[in-house]
Symmetry: C2
Subunit: 300 residues, 2 copies
Amino acid sequence: MSLLVVGSVAIDNVQTPTARRDNLLGGSATHFSYAASFFTSVRLVGVVGEDWPAQHTRMLQDRGIDTSGLTQVAGGETFTWTGRYEPNMNDRETLDVQLNVFGTFDPELPADYREAQYVFLANGVPAVQRKVLSQTTQRKLAVADTMDLWITTQRDDLNALMNDLDGLVLNDSEAKLLTGTENLVAAGHAVREMGPRFVIIKKGEHGAMFFSEHETYVMPAYPTPKVIDPTGAGDSFAGGMMGYLTEQDRFDPETLKTAMAYGVLVASFNVEGFGLERLQEITRDDIEKRMRDYRQMLSF
Amino acid sequence: MSLLVVGSVAIDNVQTPTARRDNLLGGSATHFSYAASFFTSVRLVGVVGEDWPAQHTRMLQDRGIDTSGLTQVAGGETFTWTGRYEPNMNDRETLDVQLNVFGTFDPELPADYREAQYVFLANGVPAVQRKVLSQTTQRKLAVADTMDLWITTQRDDLNALMNDLDGLVLNDSEAKLLTGTENLVAAGHAVREMGPRFVIIKKGEHGAMFFSEHETYVMPAYPTPKVIDPTGAGDSFAGGMMGYLTEQDRFDPETLKTAMAYGVLVASFNVEGFGLERLQEITRDDIEKRMRDYRQMLSF
């Protein structure tokens, strides 16, 4: 099976209440790919500038991630994001964004990428997400992420995208914004009625909620005492989930629920270090061990 | 087995974004008692004024709640609370508080109440909570709630109380205030190190977390789309939990976890109506049905 992800590849500069780290390997497609690589091979589509360190590409390749869809623009600069987290480590302020080469990202999928059966469109311009989706010819499951900016400014394109999707992933404040509904349970189902067959609302430190026509459930976050850097938590959640679904090559309700749990757990590791550092320390065995703890935690 | 609760009995005036209701039966000990009455008999200690409607007392008695510890002060007025909920239904503003007869609440337990084996000290002045606790002679399990006001102004008394408790229940912002720690997992264990054998952090719509020396777990809230009035959710959580523990007459880790789940579910009903109205519509069977849904939701 093959998993395709299209999204940002970035250099992040992160400030937390206790530390500051610059030049971290970041971006939605990067966190997603690394998280998914515990479960399956991944085909990554993104764009970087001439400043992009070659060792980042090699590191991703060492994880079995196909980077033939990662375009390097001569003379361009890589997307950079600089942000500062509040003491609660959930709220953050964006201090600087330089879209650079990502500002005109409009990918043409390599021929062999078009056959991908599992597709994740990381947060991006909805019209571009839709255009990418239309290039895939054998997809079984298409899931996308979005953000407040597109909800506010590209609503028609987002509506069109939602009709083409199997699943939409968004965070709690975005779900409220999209629906005008404060109750997350009502909001989740209201988003689902806009098109996607299922909707996942990410709640940061409080876990994630799942909505389909016949199911509503919540999965709490794994309670880690060590939150170092939440950047990429949502993308690593999606990567863990989609990676597991691709590995299993099915997405019936039971498999989707297990996949949600894997997503929650991979995200819990992601936040335990800056950038991808913690994920680079662990193995699938560590994820499985935490899964046993998590199942135990939720059984009584 | 017998369950004793000491706390406020009040008249609430509640404003939500869509409705306003006055003269609701409220108070921490009231919500707790009603919630616990699905599982066990309850001995209630509180104080009301001459304005207290007798039908409220009869309604509690009809639930098997012993109100011989409910003192009525001639010429006094009942504690009243008036508050307004924000659109998110989690944050609220207190518009008016009239402590009235509750301002000098310093109860002497009736003789037969002193033999209670399960004791819950609802939110109140820590020195008074401690004094009440010292009157109980056969307690097996003592749990208390507290609030930001006492953390800030009565810290020594609260510290002394914590050393006498088996369990402390508090909400997320109070746990952060008490410990100076923003990470709730770390905060929960830091509170535990202040004395209680176990600590429960209530997170409103996001559920509750449990901390003992060897256990850390999270239980999500039951995802109800119908949040009408969150007043008393925390007390009904505690009532459901303590009611179940009293019914079972044990509090080993497995029973405590099941009790937490019952607390979460009773609270989920509590918020589906103003004051006690929704709890007055349901039976133990409704709770058991929701428990089956909840177990299903958490299994994969």
